[in-house]
Amino acid sequence: MRPAALISQALEILVALAAAPLFLGWVSQCRAWLANRGAPSVFLPYRNLHKLFHKEAVLAQNASALFRIAPYVVFGTMVVAAGIIPSLSGRLPLVAAADAIALVGLFATARVFLSLAAMDVGTAFGTLGARREMMVGFLAEPALLMVIFVASLISATTALPAISAHLASERLSVDPSLAFTGVAFTLVLLAENARIPVDNPATHLELTMIHEAMLLEYSARHLALMEWASALRLFNYACIGFALFVPWGIAARGIGPLGLSLAVPVLALKLAAAGAGLAVIETLSAKLRVMRAPEFLATAFVFAVLGLLVHILLGGP
């Protein structure tokens, strides 16, 4: 592979690492505005990470090695994931190693390690969180897979860049199946990233929290990695969304540095819009009871499958 490809690959990852916390900050700022609160700085997440990294780590006595490895694994998987989602350019050597299905697999890996780590100390909240996380996951994962299936049936491949390139190449047309899957994807995104209505990232209200419950025992650098990883996850999901539904502006294979430099502002625009949209959804919707979450995700799953059927029935564009 040529150095150009390597560069774009590295750039992709670095951008993701850098932009993920910012995106998180942006979303919470928008939420604050919508709630008529004084908004925190967009860079708050960076400060948090910095602070956490400089603290002394406190670990439960009976925490095993798994508990300490988990943050690195989760973080690592998220970074790799970021490396195979075309956010800036479609020319990504790593993509050869992992297509969309593998991407879903990567997310699953992260989730499993997260849950195992949460069960490791053996506290009430930890196991509770792990259970709920897996509950959300086992419904969200197939839904996401179905969404990707529709896209790959349309474009006859499961490699993300190829998909987005194919979709981008088409004339702008409202594919009904994509409409269905779009809704499904949004729901999955909300659930997977512990956003309202499934979870509330802002609180530690025991009975409702999912994601936070799993991190309770973490501190300092481990917590920092976990937080960063979850920011990355949100970022990745957003980028998947872009690649599938608004694939324009991603530098295709041929294009060189120029295309990249062009892609960056486009991505920024998309992220800003997406963040705002996310904030709006979160503000408008109310937190569901945990036991309602499965129905929420089941809806997502059904929508995705409907999208699949619609595609085969109408043959797509």
């Binding site: 970074v79 506290t123 699949l308």
Partner: protein, 675 residues
């Protein structure tokens, strides 16, 4: 080229026979000192492991060298001596057998002790007869030899299942197992009865050439599906499996789940593609639908189990479902004239068979070690073992992650292949079918995700958290031999996960034999798996792993470099909650609760909820199988009723008996006069 090599390589079939014979000899040698654990329990099993390794090597060799050998043994029926045949298909499954048995036997060498059950010598005999009979099933080239091997397999494994024959439940399980095995064998027998096509030659060669009318052929296929399905545990014929597999000693459970179930898949492949030859596309829908149902059913039940071995048994049901799904998809593709895609689907099946053999054996052996260390099978009494038994915990983790289908381990590869082949289902030139099949993909995805759930429950509850019993404090890690066995299987999982391309290349002859086509490897290098060249689809676990490892290492390095602050151990925080006890953790039931509430309709649930006024409040929940209640119990009752009705005839009154004779006589005479 084989001739230039040593005679050993020249004649793999003879080698296989020699090795199978060696197994039998080892088994019989066990009777020399049946009570001696050192001799029968350790030495002989270790020897058997070596034989298995050799068998795997031979099978691998014959697979790559692509020879097809036949041989006739002078035993069997007068007109039907044992025909044997070693071709790609049988070599592949022999490889599976040898590779996984090597690990299991190694483990067993350290596992079996003096117990109140059978003497080690007898175990040794039954165990090795079991292995030999499985090998015979794979090598058989005529119906009689196949059936002998098949039933011998069931019989020997029955004795292994009922090792602890003093426990009534285990006897019951054994009874149910042997009964189902025998009935399924009868179905298979009848399938062969059709296949020989009136030529009264029961050799597979005769069956390959026999011409059957479509109706007969379909009948044979359905009978075979019933027979092999019952053996493999397809819903609704699965009821025996979660009883029998946990009842056996763990190494035997490993063999039952890991290897024996695959012989059913082998038989299915053999009958469908080799003996019947030209399957009609709609046949495939039967195993496909049954497989999907089975997969979902199995994984859902696995999620709510509280006995670790039952949990694994149900997960085996799930995987069998996936195997049959792939097989059915293959039949459909082949039937509509898409051999390349059929090859892809069958490849997924074969690959998954290999994977499941490795990982399920690994996990069952892991539970065996836990069982030995703690004497507990109930998940509600385990926990925190990762501190006590690090080896078992580490090696089992690999198996659990693999079974959860996570990259870069092996479980994911076959899942990936299966999904890929589903992605082509919309190209099938049959309306409505191409509409329905993608839904199968949805089910598969759901099952895969649920498998993750199950594995987190399995691993987390056993090894993580705090010990739920004080007795667990002095659990001990497993011995060296057991470690070796577990390690071997874990290594298999990793190898199968990281190097799919060579494995697929090795399996290519099999698909060529079955559907006359292989999965194209164009554009693929040894590290890059690209089964569908015209679609830019590829997967490379190795690269993925390296990238991930690199990033993780880098992160760790950076963290070390810039933030070297200390690390302090203290009580868990748990939101500042006061004293925390093991009882505060989720129980197995608790962890399964979401599944239970979401898929309520699948279970027959009995709850025993405490009232606020209970002195000693108690919460009990019993989950049972609706199919058992809805199908088998009525069947049993029906037979009982029939028997009662028949008993009325036999009331001991001699006049009545005379009357029967009289009536028979008169009726027959009337019949004769009438004609």
């Amino acid at each position: 080229m084989t001739t230039s090599l040593s005679p050993l390589l020249a004649d793999p079939l003879a080698d296989c026979l020699a090795l199978v014979g060696a197994w039998l000899v080892i088994g019989i040698a066990g009777l020399a000192a049946p009570r001696s654990v050192r001799y029968a329990g350790r030495a002989l099993f270790a020897l058997g492991a070596l034989v298995a390794l050799a068998l795997a090597a031979v099978a691998a060799w014959s697979l790559v060298s692509g020879v097809t050998q036949t041989q006739v043994l002078p035993i069997g029926l007068p007109d039907l001596p044992f025909h044997l045949r070693l071709d790609a298909l049988s070599s592949a499954f022999l490889l599976l057998l040898g590779a996984s048995v090597a690990g299991v036997s190694l483990f067993s060498a350290g596992y079996f002790r003096e117990s109140d059950g059978m003497a080690p010598g007898l175990l040794c005999l039954q165990y090795h007869v079991f292995l030999a009979s499985m090998a015979l099933v794979l090598l058989a080239d005529d119906a009689y030899a196949f059936m002998v091997g098949w039933e011998l397999m069931a019989l020997s494994s029955y004795f292994l299942v009922t090792t602890q024959h003093r426990i009534p439940e285990i006897r019951r399980a054994g009874f149910l197992y042997l009964l189902m095995a025998h009935v399924s064998a009868l179905f298979i027998l009848l399938a062969f009865g059709i296949l020989q096509g009136g030529s009264w030659h029961f050799t597979f060669d005769a069956m390959r050439t026999a011409h059957l009318s479509p109706a007969w052929a379909a009948g044979a296929f359905l009978l075979a599906t019933l027979g092999f399905g019952a053996k493999a545990g397809l819903v609704p014929l699965h009821v025996w499996l979660p009883e029998a597999h946990p009842a056996a000693p763990s190494p035997v459970s490993a063999l039952l789940s890991g290897v024996m179930l695959k012989t059913a898949v082998y038989g299915m492949l053999r009958v469908t593609f080799d003996l019947l030859g030209h399957p009609v596309w709609w046949w495939g829908l039967v195993p496909l639908a049954a497989g999907l149902l089975t997969a979902l059913y199995g994984v859902i039940f696995a999620a709510v189990q509280t006995d670790m071995k039952r949990l694994l048994a149900y997960s085996s049901i799930e995987n069998v479902g996936l195997l049959f799904t792939g097989l059915g998809l293959g039949v459909v593709f082949f039937g509509v004239g898409m051999p390349a895609l059929a090859a892809l689907a069958l490849l997924a099946t074969l690959y998954h068979a290999l994977n499941h053999a490795a990982m399920k054996s690994l996990l069952f052996l892991g539970t065996g070690s836990v069982l030995h260390a703690t004497g507990q099978r109930n998940l509600g009494r385990l926990g925190g073992l990762i501190h006590r038994m690090p080896w078992v915990a580490a090696l089992t983790l690999i198996g659990a992650l693999a079974l959860a289908g996570l990259p870069p381990l092996n479980g994911f590869v076959s899942e990936w292949l299966l999904l890929q082949s589903f992605l082509f289902a919309d190209e099938i030139p049959r309306t409505f079918v191409n509409l329905l099949l993608p839904l199968g993909a949805a089910v598969v995805a759901l099952c895969a995700a649920l498998a993750g759930y199950v594995m987190v429950k399995f691993y987390g509850v056993i090894f993580l958290g705090q010990p739920r019993e004080s007795s667990l404090a002095h659990a001990h890690d497993c011995g060296r031999l057991e470690r070796l066995g577990l390690g071997w299987l874990a290594a298999l999982c990793i190898a199968l996960g990281l190097a799919p391309v060579p494995v697929i290349a090795a399996l290519a002859p099999v698909t060529r034999q079955l559907v006359g086509s292989t999965v194209p490897q164009a554009g693929a290098s040894w590290w890059l798996l690209a089964p569908v060249p015209h679609r830019a689809v590829s997967y490379s676990p190795l690269v993925l792993l390296l990238a991930g490892a690199a990033i993780i290492a880098l992160t760790a390095l950076l963290v070390r470099l810039f933030y070297r602050r200390g690390l302090r151990r203290t009580r868990p925080w748990d939101c500042g909650f006061g004293e925390i006890t093991p009882r505060m953790q989720d129980t197995a039931e608790g962890f399964g609760q979401p599944i239970r509430s979401i898929f309520q309709s699948f279970f027959a649930i009995e709850r025993e909820l405490p009232t606020p006024f209970d002195a000693a409040p108690r919460y009990r929940i019993a989950i049972s199988d609706r199919i058992w209640r809805g199908l088998y119990q009525p069947l049993w009752r029906g037979v009982r009723r029939l028997a009662d009705a028949a008993a009325v005839l036999q009331r001991g009154r001699i006049s009545a008996y005379l009357l029967y004779s009289f009536a028979t006589l008169v009726i027959l005479l009337a019949v004769v006069l009438a004609t």
